[in-house]
Amino acid sequence: MIKNRINQKLKEDKKLLSIYFTAGYPKLTDTVKIIEDLEKNGVDMIEIGLPFSDPLADGPTIQDSSTHALNNGMNTDLLFEQLQNIRETVSIPLVMMGYFNPVFQYGVEAFCKKCQEIGIDGIILPDLPLDVYQDEYEQTFKKYGLINVFLITPQTSDERIRMIDKVSEGFIYMVSSASTTGAKTGFGNEQQTYFERIAELDLKNPQIVGFGISNKATFDQATKNAKGAIIGSAFIKHLTQHGTEKIDGFVRGIR
């Protein structure tokens, strides 16, 4: 079992609030300030989005933030540079989230090594499939102490969920509904049934729900069964409106 900040955090006796943002948005140099402010205001974990030109699994909000971030000049080297000293001020788990191609171009091993140097705890690459991870990259991720986080969706079969549970060593990213990312105002019965179905599987890894969490109501509903929830698009919208101001108000609005 990999021991890192994610596993420590998951042991805490509370529902976890995790926030996603796209690095380089709204301004190129906002990355560190956003991370520090989120921690200061009690956020439990942060997903740092490495922007990609063709984010297939994302809805319009994250697409736009990615385009802006790239136009601002964000790239993999620059992001690592910005995060160089992040562990001097931040102690909550940090997860890199992005698409596989930029990581593949950087070199998977070089990327993992850099992540470890900086103090990144996990990686989420939605388009790196389970079998390719196992065949080609699992050893590398482990060598650098990184947790690879897999997604499941309402369409994922119980059998496959159990397989993913077996390979996972931190938490399972539970996509709330069959959809791309984007804030929703509420979850229906279908989601509730799905949340309960997964809870009943009694998996070894805790689950954190993402996609469509936007406010206190959806956060509470998602975390009734799951260990935590991730807010992405709703926070990006907040950044669009307020820049890096009022992050305290945003977090307080959730819990």
Partner: protein, 393 residues
């Protein structure tokens, strides 16, 4: 060396299914069923009957006498332009609509560049009475207006892709996002040999009717099944895959792939993937891909909307890397000139995509006895405005 897909979905180092988990159930359902469905007698029969009675197959293999004289070699044209809807694209859409029916799907989505695949998809959806949504880049909607109108007349909804370069790549992104949001009732009819496994193989098999016919037709005309060369333009690579398919394992048949150089390979405005691409992931497939050193996919350019794609099907990446295929890139100007030459020498107005293939005859020398089959992938009706603007007609 094998040029066919292996059981894991790879052609050499290329291919696979690099898709988010949201798409796993859809592609897995297809992967588990596509070969057995294609083997079912009822499927085969309906597919062949539609290709014959509806599409108008077999398409002629035509000996182009005047062109042959001019270029001092034996040139045959495989007339995919004579298919219903005007291009090879319909071979695939007929196959996939039958596949969708077998899988119990009641909604179809597709991406389109030139609009040929969109029209071919809208056509088979009308034929079967199935709902159809086609994603098309805003830029392409403007430069391929007649095909947009056709799709609408056929009852399809055309949704503009407004992200990125607003061309084929972005239309494909939007179609994939639609599929993520509609995983149960919808089948995605991809228009080329691209995308996650099993799409490249399935589309190649549906298009393989082209080379199957070439074999029998050439036997009749030349007394032999195998040409010396097969030439095709490559966007994603479906007309090429179909034209090469039954010759891939026969090293005596030379395979020539023609890519769009746009304004020139070194101008920054090009779509010549084999020359400019590096290994990467696009639309769920590991293949050659035009990208920044940072792994961001770059905007391609070609005068022809159907070749304006920053990647290439994994089969073609493998043909390039292994040296099995000879890759040539052709500029906008060379293609337009070659298109006009074909009009005036053979009385055939080609699609601008297909014109790229013909342009190699000006630079690639063949022996007088060589039998060269040119895949004429589509007709030029849809490109009339572009020809008018270019030649100030």
């Amino acid at each position: 060396m094998s040029y066919h897909v292996n059981e894991k979905g790879y052609y050499g180092e290329f291919g696979g299914a690099f898709i988010p988990e949201m798409l796993y159930p859809n592609t897995e359902e297809l992967r588990q069923n596509y070969l057995s469905i294609m083997e079912e007698p009822s499927f085969k029969e309906e597919f062949q009957q539609l290709l014959r009675d509806y599409v108008g197959r077999p398409t002629p293999l035509y000996f182009a006498e005047r062109m042959s004289e001019r270029y001092k070699t034996k040139i045959y044209l495989k007339r995919e332009d004579l298919n219903h809807t005007g291009a090879h694209k319909v071979n695939n859409t007929v196959g996939q609509i039958l596949m969708a029916k077998k899988l119990g799907k009641n909604r179809i989505i597709a991406e389109t560049g030139a609009g040929q695949h969109g029209v071919a998809t809208a056509t088979v959806c009308a034929l079967m009475g199935i709902e159809c949504v086609v994603y098309m880049g805003e830029v392409d909607i403007a430069r391929q207006a007649p095909n947009v109108a056709r799709m609408k007349m056929l009852g399809a909804e055309v949704r503009p892709a407004l992200s990125g370069s607003r061309t084929l790549k972005d239309a494909t992104n939007e179609a994939i996002r639609d599929w993520i949001n509609n995983p149960v009732d919808t089948h995605y009819i991809i228009g080329s040999v691209v995308g996650p496994h099993p799409y490249p193989d399935m589309v190649a098999r549906f298009q393989s009717v082209i080379s199957e016919e070439i074999k029998t037709q050439l036997l009749e005309k030349e007394g032999r099944e195998n040409p010396d060369y097969v030439v095709a333009c490559v966007g994603g690579g479906s007309n090429a895959a179909g034209a090469y398919y039954h010759f891939l394992d026969n090293p005596e048949v030379g395979i020539i792939a023609v890519e769009a150089a746009g304004k020139g390979i070194d101008t920054g405005e090009s779509a010549a993937t084999s020359a400019l691409g590096k290994v990467g992931i696009i639309h769920g497939s590991k293949t050659l891909l035009m990208q920044t050193p940072d792994g961001q996919i770059t905007e391609p350019y070609s005068i022809s909307a159907g070749l304006d794609y920053p990647g290439v099907g994994p089969l073609h990446a493998h043909l390039f890397r292994s040296g099995r295929g000879e890759f040539i890139s052709i500029t906008d100007d060379e293609a337009m000139t070659a298109g006009l030459t074909l009009c005036q020498m053979e009385g055939i107005i080609p699609a601008i995509e297909s014109s790229h293939a013909f342009a190699i005859l000006e630079q690639r020398k063949f022996n007088p006895t060589d039998v060269v089959v040119m895949n004429l992938s589509g007709r030029g009706d849809k490109d009339l405005q572009n020809y008018i603007d270019y030649f100030k007609l």
